[in-house]
């Protein structure tokens, strides 16, 4: 017994579900050609899973959809990017900002509650990123006619011709496609700029898709009366105007497994280390660090997020060479992850007898290695 209250503009799905009914059958029942969805969750993995679920399971041949969502603070990298190169992972761990990898391409972005995400779902034939961005720019102009916002041919939206307020990424599947973009309304810009600046980008050699850094600005900075919910409503109504739809705005809870079978697993998959870090294209880290007044050179090749090959060069006499060899072979094959490295090094030290002096040096060596992870 699906209890649905379809009011004028908004509709909330309750938790009781008719047997065998899913979100896609619900859309079929609604019957409208264009539906606007709002996510009830602010968890990045749940929202990314929702995107993927809609992309995989909803029939978009005769229907288009817009999904509006926001997240708590998180850094999202593109499908083929290198997180070590794109953001400051130690700082993020410190601040408690998680990292997510999305399935679409493009560059790295920082989300928080002041950022609106919009995903335009269409069939592959109707895939038109410029038109989607027009929805956004026209909505903003309808709200504030003096606002100078324009889309570029790289599918960014620039404010005052200079500041980037929106970036785009897309994914094309077999029959349908989605195009999603961000919109900076009132994001914490200081966090954004520090977190999106890698601490070790100079030492990384990689083939991954690089991000193109741009100066950013919040819409709130140019007009303090613009807030996220106003903008979301404006975008929703402009979407209907632009495409001639009159569908309702529906709030969806992405944790509702019964309504979207399989979505929970999708969200789990997106949180695995193998997806977030392991999907990094092959890269190498080559740096020299100063530990205890000695310069140590590290040279590591990392594939699929695990250290394939590790070479450490220490000055003579600082540590016995067999110890260094064993240390590097411990690292070989391990995940390029500080926790894992710490665990391995601890085990390494436990299984060998060494003087306190050597132990201290190993500790500091480990700290140095971890500082680039």
């Amino acid at each position: 017994m699906m209890i649905l209250r379809l009011s004028n503009r908004a509709c909330v799905l309750s938790r009781s579900v008719r047997l065998k009914s899913t979100l896609s059958t619900f859309f079929d029942e609604v019957g409208k050609a264009g539906i606007i969805l709002k996510s009830a969750s602010t968890g990045i993995f749940e929202n990314l899973a929702l995107e993927d679920w809609i992309h995989d399971h909803v029939d978009l041949q005769n229907r288009s959809m817009l999904l509006l969502w926001r997240n708590s603070p998180v850094v999202v990298i593109g499908r083929h990017q290198n997180p070590w190169q794109e953001c400051n992972l130690p700082l993020m761990r410190q601040l408690g900002i998680p990292l997510a990898r999305r399935r679409s391409g493009g560059g790295t972005v920082f989300h928080d509650f002041g950022n609106i995400n919009m995903t335009f779902f269409t069939s592959k034939k109707k895939y038109d990123r410029h038109r989607n961005l027009k929805v956004v720019t026209r909505a903003l102009k309808a709200l504030r006619p003096n606002l100078d916002v324009a889309a570029t041919d790289r599918f960014d939206i620039l404010l005052n011709g200079h500041y980037k307020i929106s970036g785009t990424a897309a994914k094309l599947g077999r029959t349908s496609a989605y195009h999603h973009c961000t919109l900076l309304c009132s994001v914490n810009r200081s966090v954004l700029s520090t977190v999106l600046k890698s601490n070790i980008s100079e030492v990384i050699k990689s083939n991954a898709t690089p991000s193109v850094p741009s100066p950013v600005k919040n819409l709130l900075d140019v007009d303090p009366t613009l807030d996220s919910s106003t903008i979301m409503d404006a975008i929703a109504s402009q979407y209907n105007n632009e495409f001639g739809f009159d569908g309702p705005v529906i709030t969806v809870d992405p944790t509702h497994e019964a309504l979207m079978p399989g979505i929970h697993k999708m969200a789990q998959d997106l949180q695995t280390w193998e997806w977030i870090y392991g999907r990094t294209p092959k890269f190498s880290v080559c740096t020299s660090l100063v530990v205890d007044d000695v310069t140590i050179k590290f040279d590591m090749d990392i594939k699929n997020g695990t250290v394939e090959q590790c070479a450490i060069e220490i000055p003579e006499g600082w540590l016995p060479p067999e110890m260094v060899n064993e240390f590097t072979s411990t690292l070989n094959g391990s995940k390029y992850c500080p926790n894992e490295t710490a665990v391995l090094v601890a085990a390494f030290m436990r299984t060998r007898s060494m003087t306190e002096d050597v132990a201290e040096k190993i500790h500091r060596l480990c700290a140095a290695v971890v500082s680039v992870m």
């Binding site: 499908r79 083939n207 998959d269 294209p281």
Partner: protein, 539 residues
């Protein structure tokens, strides 16, 4: 297992095989447990094999051919081309060329291919038609490339995470089910490099008759095959009686040329080529480089019979679209009247040589522009424009000259040409042509002419007729110079044979404004002005 009982009793064990196969896979988390593959790779999932009907599977096995399919990438979108490679020599042709445009999405700027991701541990996996094979990232969009046929993934040639993979590169090989995928042979790759070969002007193919030193005997079927694919019969090895090239020979040639050199090699056979076509580097593929299209998969080439199963879409640039629209409007709404005349360029050439000694560089085209302008000044009834219901006289003489640019035909204007001297016209023409080619013309530099001149002489055209640019009334189409022996009756010694440099100019005029009679008079005046440049006030 009760529902399998009836299958066990059936003769056809294929269904059983694949059903069990399928159920085993269903029991385990496909891939994650069995292989060291990152879990949750939903994007590069090779899903469990399709449940093909037993009849199909049986048919495939009985065919007994090894089909290896190669998977390639194409330009701007992603092609999947499957090709059959015969490891053993069979006379029966069993090639399968399938092309799929995997992605054709509006809005792609085609900024180049970025990333390829193929799951590394799927060799030997069964692939069903429509399964996702790999992901490609380009232009901020991730695209899933799918397989267009059932089979087994045999070998991955381009590694995961590769970047900057070029068009037409072979990325993987597939074999059909039942074949030993470990033994798949990698096809000749040197032919796969696309338009990297510098564009060579297509060697003017000497007519086959000229190079035919031996009699060619083709069976009708062979002739049809070779014609359709534009192949040179000389390359086919004749195995029929008395040197007859049979259908099998033609098919073999077709297969070889597809393997060795994907583009139909018709025009590139200038020298009687060595019989074995796979020497592709010595004979540059004539087609693709000049048009910039990849040579593989075979694409239709203008002027050649369409390679079967292909089509190419050339997206129209804005300029072309506008040109197309205006030309159609012109040809369909304006009644074109044509008149031609031959002009003797003797005097012009002499004057030109004379000016060259004075270090003044002018071309024949500049003389033509000036002559036309002066003629318009002398016959203002031709210098008109259609104003909706009748002629409207123009008080300026601006000549539009047609310039061919990569973007299309543009017509920059030389303003007030009648009052300009030759040198000035020459300089203006050169500057405007360069601007047109760079795409830097301002609107006032190409809008508002009163008369157009189009010169195709330098391209070897002897004469042609052009389409009027509305709202102008006429356009003069100038052909190339040719030397002709003519009787010159004006000589005092009586008729003498003299070599004359002639050009043919054709005036297309708007019949409503400049009818045949007026056009003829205009042309006569133009000819006089061109043949006697001093009279026209030229320096």
């Amino acid at each position: 297992m009760c529902h399998y009982r009836h299958l066990l009793e059936s003769n056809n064990c294929y269904i059983l095989q694949c059903v069990i196969f399928f159920s085993i896979y269903a029991l385990f988390d496909y891939g994650a447990a069995a292989r060291d593959r990152p879990a949750g790779g939903a994007d590069v999932r090779i899903r469990s094999p399709s449940l093909r009907s037993a009849a199909e599977k049986k048919a495939l096995r009985e065919k007994g051919t090894a089909m290896a399919a190669s998977i390639r990438l194409g330009r701007r979108s992603v092609f999947v081309a499957l090709r059959a490679i015969k490891p053993n020599k069979l006379t029966a042709q069993n090639r399968l060329i399938i092309q799929n445009k995997c992605q054709r999405a509006a809005g792609w700027t085609g900024s180049g291919f970025r990333h390829l991701f193929v799951s590394p541990s799927v060799c030997g996996d069964e692939v069903a038609a429509g399964d996702a094979l790999c992901e490609i990232e380009t232009d901020k969009a991730v695209v899933i490339m799918e397989s267009s046929d059932d089979g087994i993934l045999a070998k991955i040639l381009v590694q995961e995470g590769s970047r900057g993979v070029r068009l037409g590169t072979l990325i993987a090989l597939m074999v059909s089910e039942g074949e030993d995928w470990k033994q798949v042979e990698v096809p000749a790759l040197e032919a796969a490099t696309p338009a990297a070969a510098p564009p060579t002007a297509a060697d003017p193919a000497p007519p086959l008759a000229a190079s035919a030193l031996k009699q060619l005997r083709l069976s009708p079927a062979a002739r049809h095959i070779l014609d359709t694919h534009g192949l040179d019969p000389h390359l086919a090895k004749a195995t029929g009686p008395r040197g007859l090239i049979t259908k099998e020979d033609a098919l073999k040639l077709l297969d070889q040329s597809d393997k060795g050199r994907p583009a139909p090699p018709a025009a590139a056979l200038a020298p009687p080529a060595p019989p074995a076509p796979p020497a592709p580097l010595t004979v540059a593929p004539p087609v693709a480089p000049s048009t910039g299209r990849p040579t593989f998969p075979p694409v239709s080439v203008p002027g050649k019979p369409g390679t079967p199963g292909t089509f190419t879409e050339i997206p129209a640039s804005n300029v072309r679209r506008v040109i197309a629209q205006r030309l159609t409007q012109s040809k369909s709404t304006i009644p074109h009247a044509y008149a031609s005349v031959d002009c003797d360029l003797g005097a012009v050439m002499k004057l030109r040589k004379q000016l060259a000694t004075e270090n003044v560089k002018v071309s024949v085209n500049d003389f033509i522009i000036k002559a036309a302008a002066v003629s318009l000044r002398e016959m203002p009834e031709v210098n008109v424009m259609w104003s909706g219901d009748g002629p409207q006289a123009l008080d300026f003489i601006h000549i539009s000259m047609a310039v061919a640019t990569p973007r299309g035909l543009m017509t920059p204007i030389i303003k007030d040409a009648a009052n300009k001297g030759l040198q000035e016209i020459a300089a203006t023409a050169k500057a405007l042509a360069q601007k047109a080619r760079d795409g830097k013309l301002l609107p006032e530099e190409y809008q508002g002419g009163s008369f157009s001149i189009s010169n195709l002489g330098m391209l070897g055209i002897s004469e042609f007729s052009a389409v009027i640019n509305p709202p102008q009334a006429c356009i003069l189409a100038v052909g190339g110079t040719r030397a002709e022996l003519r009787l010159a009756p004006q000589s005092p010694d009586g008729p003498v044979l003299r070599t004359q440099q002639l050009i043919t100019v054709t005036l297309s005029s708007d019949g409503r404004l400049v009818d045949d009679e007026l056009a003829s008079r205009f042309l006569e005046k133009f000819r006089t002005n061109l043949e006697q440049p001093q009279r026209a006030g030229l320096p």
